[in-house]
């Protein structure tokens, strides 16, 4: 058989992280690779003309094509047709995918060269770019104590290995702890989560550090040295029995984070009664004693019969050594004040999804009664304010607006995946608790993609919810009545709908700490800010940094079942390295020369 004549074609258009590549350098590099007879840049057009391509291929007698692009798959069809037209072998087309193998590296051009070399030599990149093995310390660090972190920690600990679980807030549980029910089964969220939280607390292999943050990570894959700051809690975890005496006497009130600010907590508080660890914490920013340098207040110290409050506590730095790290830092919701047209922050009865979760939660501030905000006089501040009063008026109509901040190029272009379904869950809860209330869902596309989800959607429709195709454009208030304006596409009309309450189905964004963590650990992030997995299809829990794994929403929006599955998968990857006593160095540390050499060896065999 005659030797292959390889043509390398660059196409710059593609989506996903598009590292700024030096295409000139790449072209020079490609031209010097063996058997390459033609190198050409085809520009940024999203479509290619197969007929013109076929002419090119014939003219240069190209027998094998390498498409080199951030996402070369886009162009494969055109080349397959071109090859067929040119009378060549339509199978002889290889892809050099810069996005898949090089997104977010420090020197993306060098990495792209390696990807090119592998494609030209017809060696799968994954086989050539194998990081060197490294010995592994058997302990693991899990960052973030939401359902993802909890699940991963339990899996590893149950297998008999030690886990440090670091959580920034005073309790583990994450967002799931705030929910009443979970879609699509409508199971009680706490009934699933609380036992897991307790298990973490009691596990001999888990060292739980709440109210703590990772400050510094040094060392190398398999042997990381981690500095963790344990913030001063001012309450002795062992002594505190969560009797609530301190909180009852504390004179300072402020918004409760756990209740999405729809209720108040004290400066010494416990986020919720089932919090783990089940102990109080002092919010130094609001505590009168700490703010006054110990000259004022201090009421709680005197009140505590267990002597558990220690205002002399200081932050503590703990150093641990671990072999692997699992990132499970989750998400925060889109800030709805950014979309002024919905009036969030100005119109009292326009509320976000997380606020509604707390409102409808049986352990929430209204005991789960869905009420509208009502005006009340605050004796302390001497001002009128809007509050959820359990005895307040019930809404007679509720509208839910989908895709708030998601699928919108002005905000986040991606789909947040869970909001369609939690909106349906909300509709169900409204109907369950307020039988006579009307409930409307304004949606663009109903994304009921999971097991049992479409059935859930059908069920909700049968419950008498009005599902309106068309996202609403704005909410305004006229004489105290909210009006929502939107196009009802299927009915072919513009509606101006009076409603009592509007729920905004806000999308998900990476936790604010993701950026710092990404820098600290060198884990790349993709366009939406989510941690970039090492391979979307085959390694969704690994990263290009050796010994660092991702689980849960921090890698991309997903629901609880997917989060849990990914967390278990991450745990399995970690356990594999521990059991084999061998992990791997960072893929991203591999040099061009190393990959080239290995590719050459593989090509020979």
């Amino acid at each position: 058989m005659s030797k292959a004549r390889i043509g390398v074609y660059f196409c710059t258009r593609g989506n996903g992280p598009n590292p700024s590549l030096d295409y000139k350098a790449l072209a020079t590099y490609a031209a010097a690779l063996p058997l390459v007879v033609e190198v050409k840049h085809l520009g940024t057009s999203p479509t290619l003309d197969p007929v013109a391509l076929a002419k090119e291929l014939t003219a240069k007698q190209v027998t094998t094509v390498v498409i080199a692009a951030p996402s070369p798959g886009y162009f494969k069809t055109a080349f397959t047709r071109a090859m067929a037209l040119a009378g060549g072998d339509p199978e002889a087309i290889r892809l050099a995918s810069f996005r898949e193998h090089g997104g977010g590296f420090e020197s993306p051009t060098e990495r792209a060269k390696a990807v090119l070399a592998c494609a030209v030599m017809d060696v799968p990149f994954g086989l050539a770019a194998v990081p060197a093995p490294s010995p592994v310390h058997p302990d693991t660090l899990v960052v973030g104590g939401g359902i993802a972190g909890i699940q991963a920690a339990l899996e590893i600990a149950d297998a008999g290995k030690k886990v440090y679980l670091v959580e920034r807030t005073p309790t583990i549980g994450g967002h799931m702890a705030m929910f009443d029910k979970t879609f699509p089964t409508l199971d009680c969220a706490a009934c699933i989560l609380t036992p897991k939280m307790v298990a973490v607390d009691q596990h001999e292999n888990i060292e739980l550090m709440t109210w703590s943050e990772v400050e510094e990570v040094t060392g190398r894959p398999g042997a990381f040295k981690v500095k963790i700051r344990k913030k001063a809690r001012y309450v002795d975890l062992d002594a505190c029995v969560a009797c609530n005496d301190c909180s009852a006497i504390c004179p300072v009130s402020t918004d409760s984070e756990f209740d999405s600010s729809i209720s108040q907590r004290k400066a010494i508080y416990i986020p919720f009664p089932q919090a783990i660890p089940n102990a109080f914490v002092v919010d130094a920013q609001h505590c009168t004693y700490l703010q006054s340098g110990g000259t004022k207040c201090g009421a709680c110290v005197k009140k505590c019969s267990k002597d558990a409050i220690h205002f002399e506590d200081k932050d503590e730095i703990v150093e641990v050594e671990v072999g692997n790290i699992i990132l499970a830092t989750g998400y925060e919701v889109f800030d709805a004040t950014r979309m002024e047209r919905y009036g969030y922050g100005k119109l009292p009865n326009v509320i976000t999804a997380l606020e509604f979760e707390r409102l409808t939660n049986a352990s929430g501030p209204t005991g789960g009664t869905i009420v509208m905000k009502s005006k009340q006089f605050n004796k302390r501040t001497k001002q009128e304010e809007w509050v959820f009063d359990p005895d307040g008026p019930r809404p007679k109509s509720v509208a839910i607006i989908h895709c708030v901040g998601s699928r919108d190029r002005n905000y986040n272009p991606y789909c947040s995946r869970v909001c369609c379904m939690y909106s349906l869950k909300f509709a169900h809860l409204v109907k369950e608790k307020l039988q006579d209330a009307k409930c409307y869902e304004f949606y663009i596309d109903m994304r009921a993609y999971g097991k049992g989800y479409e059935e859930f959607f059908e069920r909700i429709k049968d419950e008498g919810i009005h599902v309106v195709r068309g996202v609403s454009a704005r909410v305004k208030e006229v004489d105290g009545q909210l009006y929502l304006r939107g196009e009802d596409i299927l009915e072919d009309k513009v509606v101006e709908l009076p409603v009592d309450m509007v729920l905004l189905a806000v999308g998900l964004e990476p936790d604010k700490s993701a950026c710092d963590i990404s820098k600290m650990l060198g884990v790349p992030r993709d366009d939406g800010g989510w941690f970039h997995e090492s391979d979307y299809n085959t390694d969704p829990t690994g990263t290009d940094r050796g010994g660092i794994f991702v689980a849960g929403v921090c890698q991309g929006p997903k629901d609880i079942p997917d989060t849990v599955a990914q967390a278990s998968a991450a745990a399995a990857s970690v356990l594999k390295t521990i059991l084999r006593k061998q992990g791997s160095e960072s893929n991203s540390d591999l040099t061009l020369a190393t990959i080239e050499n290995r590719a050459r060896q593989l090509a020979k065999n």
Partner: protein, 378 residues
């Protein structure tokens, strides 16, 4: 009725300035924010749909693009950056070309080089014609009175001839617009009485652009109405009072005051629009089709040369005045010939007509509905 889908329609509209139509995912946001979108004319989303589906005939009989004033809210809030406002604008250009029976409009919109060529050819013809006529019958150093280079009576007669021809073209195009949007629709037959009852609307909308004024943002409407009233005043002055403007030495300052105000109005508003487009200061200025530039630059040039030739005349330098007058005519003639029946200026007629037709259509629909209700058994 069979419906035909033309997959190339989007590509065709792109020549007229449409962009990103295919990005639209039909959320309905644009329709809901549009201050003009009222039943039964709900837009722009539906028009985006017609386009995506390639419904050429549906689009051709669509009045909605003319009911849109491009306040730009839809484009600003579109989550897909599908530019619905600009799509409506491009549909107006496309419709102008569809209404035009000569095909010239199509040519001008499709290629700005063609338009420029047309302007240059017409300008040269006009210049040569008037120069030869002027030197043959008069003196280039004389502006008015006997032996004038370009006697006002001759120009006046020329104006009327041109107006008659252009109006004929425009009227035929308006007739075609009626046929596409009203006449051929078997669904809603409007009676002459319905047309008669709503006739007043035509004038109302022509002169006040009432609908535009209902936009949340008043700025663009103000600019537009000043520009349009200045233009119409200038047209009236030229068509009816031209000899008075050029005559001397006794000066009719009444006619002049109007002329000055109108010229100032034109120069200022056109300069503002040009500046806005350069700076892309508002959504409706963000995208400029070549024809938008040509239109504004021509208008500015015509207003400027018009006032300059007049100034030279009044300041007593007839030679300069005549040269500038020639330059002015070389701008006016191509501008009017190309723009009035075939391009941007045609919207002066199409917009009020669309407003008028839309009301008649509503009446026809209502009549049909009540007829249907009557035939139902009680």
């Amino acid at each position: 009725m069979t419906v035909q889908a033309d997959p190339r329609l989007v590509a065709e509209l792109e020549i007229y300035g449409a962009q990103d139509v295919l990005k639209c995912y039909h959320c309905g946001n644009c329709t809901a924010v549009c201050p003009f979108s009222k039943a039964p004319f709900i837009f722009p989303r539906k028009s985006m749909r017609y386009l995506q589906m390639g419904l050429r005939e549906k689009l051709k009989s669509n009045l909605e693009p003319w009911l849109c004033y491009y306040c730009g809210e839809c484009s600003e809030q579109c989550p897909r950056e599908a530019e619905p406002g600009e799509t409506m604008m491009s549909m107006r250009r496309w419709l102008t070309a569809q209404y035009d029976f000569t095909g010239i409009s199509n040519l001008l919109y499709r290629s700005w080089k063609m338009e420029l060529l047309g302007i240059i050819v017409l300008a040269i013809l006009t210049g040569l014609g008037f120069y030869m006529f002027g030197t043959a019958t008069g003196d280039i150093h004389k502006y008015d009175g006997p032996g004038a280079f370009l006697p006002s009576a001759v120009i006046h007669a020329f104006d009327w001839t041109m107006a008659t021809i252009l109006s004929t073209f425009l009227l035929i195009n308006c007739g075609r617009m009626w046929w596409f949007t009203m006449g051929r629709d078997p669904e809603h037959r409007a009676t002459p009485a319905m047309y008669a009852r709503r006739a007043g609307l035509l004038l109302l909308h022509f002169f006040t652009q009432k609908r535009y004024s209902e936009c949340d943002r008043k700025g663009p409407w103000r600019l537009h109405i000043v520009l349009m009233l200045s233009y119409v005043s200038m047209l009236v002055l030229i068509m009816f009072f031209l000899p008075m403007m050029q005559a001397g030495p006794a000066v009719n300052w009444w006619a002049h005051a109007f002329g000055y105000a109108a010229t100032a109005g034109l120069l200022i508003t056109v300069a503002m629009a040009l500046w806005g487009r350069v700076q892309k200061s508002a959504t409706h200025y963000k995208h400029s089709h070549e024809t938008d530039w040509i239109f504004l630059i021509m208008l500015f040039y015509v207003a400027l040369t018009g006032i300059l030739q007049h100034a030279c005349h009044r300041l007593g330098s007839p030679y300069a005045a005549n040269i500038l007058y020639l330059a002015h005519l070389m701008g006016v003639v191509p501008m009017l010939v190309l723009e009035v029946p075939f391009s941007k200026w045609a919207h002066m007629c199409y917009r009020p007509l669309a407003m008028y037709f839309s009301h008649v259509q509503v009446d026809a629909m209502a009549a049909k509905e009540s007829a249907a209700a009557e035939t139902l058994p009680a």
